[in-house]
């Protein structure tokens, strides 16, 4: 089975736009949506309301930088310092090109850093590229299973 994509996004508009973009990219991966950093960590750690979810990491985490409670950078730090989560591909999605965020993200070991383009077509393209690269094409680290839909 194809591993899901974990989308961490608090803003409902961004959420809707990202989901539309993902659907346009024709990815078959399931998209799990969590709404803030704390919830993302609960999902990844399989605790709280996600305690009962099946084991296994998502194919990729699309992480918004600015999130309520625990922000994107904090989530990233936790992922990189947790043994089972360390290899997980994380793509930071952000509204701006703030230098400090970029630097901090790469310091913390982000796999990609994407500034959400204002133009929607571009945004769709960016999301599609990301999805294909990280969820499909990229050789996942050991522990993740790649599943290619038969016939595709």
């Amino acid at each position: 089975m194809l591993k899901p994509i974990l989308l961490v996004e608090d803003n409902p508009n961004d959420l809707e736009l990202t989901l539309i973009a993902l659907s346009k990219s024709q990815l078959a991966n399931q998209v799990i949506i969590v709404r803030d950093g704390a919830e993302a960590l609960d999902y990844l750690h399989r605790r709280g309301e996600y305690a009962a979810r099946p084991a296994g990491n998502p194919a990729v985490v699309l992480l918004d930088l600015k999130l309520p409670k625990v922000d994107g950078l904090e989530v990233l730090r936790e992922i990189r310092s947790t043994d089972g989560l360390k290899p997980l591909p994380v793509v930071m999605l952000t509204s701006s090109r703030e230098e400090q965020d970029l630097v901090r993200s790469y310091e913390l070991g982000v796999n990609a850093y994407v500034v959400k383009p204002v133009d929607f077509a571009e945004f769709v393209r960016a999301i599609a590229d990301l999805g294909i690269f990280w969820a499909v094409l990229n050789e996942p680290p050991p522990g993740s299973q790649r599943y290619v839909k038969p016939g595709k």
Partner: protein
């Protein structure tokens, strides 16, 4: 000359002369020492001249045998009464040889000392004559301003009482030199007015004795002393202490000094001001002069009154002086708190600085920066001087009226820097405030050369005090007017005040730095937020608009509606963000206009403003009695609206919602709480609560830009208060803020 009778002395032992225990008396009377039963213990060798009983024969016999039964009987009761160390007049009697004597007695050194002093009257001394004299002096004292004129008045009175040819008042300067400041004289005597007598003229022991015994008469400097028989006091086994005896023989050195001065009779009255020998009333007469005890008493009292007057005048003058200096200091200090640059502030009060220390030049030295005003040495000289000072001062105010004597390079700065008052104004750095006084060239008229008290060349090796009293002029170079004690003390006080100001300034700087740091951080957060949060709604607008365009003609009308609504919401949010950001930045810049605010009124006004948000809601308001505070009402209103609107917002799911506003009174601050039974928040994230654009809830759960609480914090902190919050998630939240009571907003 009686020189032969005097012990041979030299100057170096002058201070050690036994002036209190000379072993002899002046022979214008006789002296007996008596046991308690009035048995004669000792007698002066000249007793026989007066009583017909030789001194040697008198020893061991009752007083009556020596001075006659009648006389002894008259004075016995007085002698038996408690005598003190000061001679007391006990009567006037006739001696065996028919001469009249005043009898003075005092008890000292274990014996009763009875002195019989020749007078030219038979009747007892009448002290009533003194009262008009003293009264007259007192009367005039009140109309007399300066110490000089008071002293002149005293001279005139003393002269009229005693008939001496010259009466002068001289005061001792700090070095002990005497300066003649007032004089009354017979025109045949030459004047000593304005002259100075070197300190060496009056040895230390003599000065001490002047303190103890306030009057001393030498009736005839050519006298031959009359020794006591036996020479030792049987009560002590030592030479008698005649400190208080009126007839005490004086040092042969002094007698020669007098003869050199062409003065055969002299009398001194001590002027003791504040327990110190301030000066003397000194009386000279060319020929021998008798001044009876009653007259001496009058002079002594005049001296005491004069001393009291001097004391009060000096106190008043000192007070006036200090008041003036302090006034200058206060006006300077007021000027020093004006601007922000401490050094410039100092420079702005340069004229006051000069006046403060009665200086001609002033310099402020701060590291390599030197600001000068008035007449000062040039910058390089000041720089070297400061280097020298930094090595030599002990962190205190340094002052000298002869800089060149301590610091050789000052030799060429004598013109404008003979006097220096230096004040370090930092404990760490080489920062100084320097006052300069110019050279004060002046001439001193010495009554004799103070630097050469030696005998005339070729004179015998034995002691020869000053032989010349011809005025000797000395021009003093390289010194300034001396610094006044009050100036030094107030300079110290000024320094403390300066350090206080500097310290306060440092604190202000630290506060400012902190404030700046915070403002900077806020600014960063601000620009960060603008780039994130403001961009998001724009992107949403474009995104949904693109989607709308793309789906044009498609049948999903519901989806189009939602896209349109999203666009509208995003646009509205963008507008609100801009508004909130603007108000937030204004909050940091606008100045506060604090006043007394009744919090009850303020809360009521806030509730009015929330009427739109509370419409249709079931809210139980519990507003406690609230105090008044000192705050800016507009700002505080904004903060309260934010808190109350939050409470309304987060109790959206409650029926009823309960919102409570209460206050607590503490000694230093007033604490307010806004508590609700709403959704609350996770205490884990409480530290983010008051940050700009921090949200702890999803957008669709609770609308907001994330600026409200940042505003609250900013407002309260600008009032020097603090904010905090507590919550049980899902049950309640309490937002609190404290406003200080004593605040200098």
């Amino acid at each position: 000359m009686t020189q032969a009778a005097a012990p041979v002395l030299d100057l170096s032992t002058c201070d050690k002369e036994p002036i209190r225990t000379p072993g002899s008396i002046q022979p214008h009377g006789f002296l007996l020492t008596l046991a308690a039963d009035l048995t004669v213990l000792q007698a002066s060798a000249n007793l026989g001249d007066w009583s017909g009983v030789a001194a040697g024969d008198a020893i061991g016999r009752p007083l009556a045998d020596v001075i006659g039964a009648a006389a002894a009987q008259r004075i016995a009761p007085e002698l038996a009464a408690g005598l003190g160390p000061r001679p007391l007049y006990v009567g006037t009697i006739a001696t065996g040889t028919g001469r009249h004597v005043d009898v003075l007695a005092h008890h000292w050194d274990g014996v009763t000392i009875a002195e019989f002093e020749a007078v030219d009257r038979a009747e007892p001394a009448d002290f009533r004559n003194l009262y008009p004299l003293i009264g007259d002096f007192l009367l005039k004292v009140n109309d007399t301003g300066s110490i000089e004129s008071l002293a002149r008045l005293a001279c005139q009175h003393v002269r009229s009482v005693t008939g001496f040819g010259r009466v002068l008042v001289y005061r001792f300067d700090t070095d002990g030199h005497g300066h003649v400041m007032a004089e009354a004289r017979d025109e045949r005597c030459h004047s000593y007015m304005g002259q100075r007598f070197p300190a060496a003229d009056i040895p230390a022991e003599a000065r001490e004795l002047y303190m103890l015994s306030r009057i001393r008469l030498i009736r005839d400097a050519t006298y031959t002393p009359s020794a006591l028989v036996p020479p030792l006091n049987p009560a002590t086994g030592k030479a008698n202490d005649l400190s208080f005896a009126a007839l005490r023989s004086v040092s042969p050195v002094h007698l020669q000094y007098m003869r050199n001065m062409n003065t055969l009779a002299s009398m001194s009255v001590s002027l003791v001001v504040k327990g110190k020998l301030w000066g003397l009333i000194s009386c000279h007469n060319e020929g021998p002069a008798a001044v009876a005890f009653d007259k001496r008493t009058a002079c002594e009292q005049l001296g005491q009154i004069l001393a009291l007057c001097i004391e009060s005048r000096e106190d008043a003058a000192e007070l006036q002086f200090r008041l003036e200096v302090r006034r200058t200091m206060v006006s300077m200090l007021a000027g020093l708190t004006q601007g922000s640059d401490f050094i410039e502030n100092l420079a702005n009060v340069f004229p006051d600085l000069l006046r403060f220390a009665r200086a001609a030049g002033v310099a402020i030295v701060v590291d390599d920066r030197i600001l000068t005003y008035g007449d000062t040495p040039d910058q390089d000289d000041i720089r070297s001087l400061v280097d020298w000072l930094a090595q030599h001062d002990r962190g205190d105010v340094f002052h000298t009226d002869k800089l060149s004597a301590l610091y050789a390079p000052a030799e060429h700065m004598i013109r404008n820097a003979s006097g220096l008052l230096a004040m370090p104004i930092s404990r760490i750095h080489k920062h100084y405030l320097l006052w300069f006084r110019p050279e004060y060239v002046h001439t001193i008229e010495w009554a004799g050369n103070p630097h050469a008290k030696e005998a005339t060349p070729g004179a015998p090796a034995q002691l020869s005090p000053r032989t010349s009293f011809a005025a000797w002029r000395e021009t003093i170079h390289g010194t300034s007017q001396p610094w006044h004690g009050g100036e030094i003390e107030l300079a110290l006080e000024f320094r403390t005040a300066l350090l206080g100001i500097a310290l306060e300034r440092a604190e202000q700087m630290a506060e400012l730095a902190e404030e700046l740091g915070r403002a900077n951080k806020e600014l960063e957060a601000f620009s960060y937020s603008v780039s994130h949060d403001l961009r998001a709604p724009l992107r949403h607008i474009v995104g949904f608009a693109d989607l709308l365009l793309e789906s044009a003609g498609s049948e999903d009308g519901q989806q189009r509606q939602r896209f349109l609504k999203n666009i509208k919401d995003a646009a509205r949010l963008a507008g609100k963000l801009v508004d909130d950001l603007l108000s937030f930045s204004q909050m940091g810049r606008a100045s506060l206009h604090p006043t007394t605010v009744d919090m009850n009124d303020l809360v009521a006004a806030c509730l009015d403003k929330l009427v739109l948000e509370t419409r249709g809601r079931n809210i139980e308001w519990d507003i406690g009695p609230l105090p008044t505070v000192w705050a800016d009402p507009t700002f505080l209103h904004l903060a309260l609206v934010n808190l109350l609107s939050n409470a309304v917002k987060f109790t959206g799911q409650r029926d009823p919602a309960v919102i409570r506003v209460s206050a607590e009174d503490h000694p230093a601050e007033t604490v307010f709480h806004v508590a609700d039974n709403g959704a609350g928040f996770n205490m884990e994230y409480v530290h983010k609560l008051f940050g700009v654009f921090q949200r702890l809830h999803r957008m669709e759960d609770f609308q907001g830009t994330g600026i409200g609480l940042a505003n609250v914090r900013r407002i309260v902190e600008r009032h020097n208060g603090r904010v905090w919050a507590r919550s049980v998630q899902g049950e309640s939240a309490t937002f609190s803020f404290a406003l200080p009571k004593q605040t200098n907003l």
